[in-house]
Symmetry: C2
Subunit: 87 residues, 2 copies
């Protein structure tokens, strides 16, 4: 499964979320990650995130697709990611 | 065409980018927008953004898909958008 994940976490928890996401997905810009991940691994990641997130103020938005090639990625301006895994 | 757009702009230009995106797409979280848009309208928007963006430091990442229903959206935590246009 291909996932685009965007989070918005409070200052105190944002570093923890960044670290967690890095273990499961590829960083592309600020609080934006993407990558191939299994349902099981995704559930595991979200379970860990829910342990420290403040649901009253933090948020995670995910876009899931079964076929990565359906999403055409385009970058304008500065390239933030150091990973060379672009489409 | 369905688009997810994420930008990362310097402080001086970020407000301008927010305003521009609001005219073309639906805001969902911080600097994340999505929506149905034609190729022509998207080009128009990007042309306007390129007029004021600093390509050395700002960035725009877009994910384009021809079928919105292929992307399954999931939100955890606080709902930021005031628009009721979720899947």
């Amino acid at each position: 499964m291909y996932v685009i994940l965007v989070y918005d976490f409070g200052e105190k928890r944002v570093g923890k979320m960044l670290k967690l996401c890095r273990r499961y997905l590829n960083w592309i810009q600020n609080s934006v990650f993407e990558g191939e991940i299994s349902e099981v691994r995704l559930k595991e990641m979200l379970m860990l995130a829910e342990k420290f997130m403040d649901k009253e103020s933090d948020s995670i938005i995910m876009f899931k697709s079964y076929y990565q090639h359906e999403m055409d990625k385009m970058i304008i301006g500065k390239e933030r990611s150091q990973l060379d895994n672009f489409l």
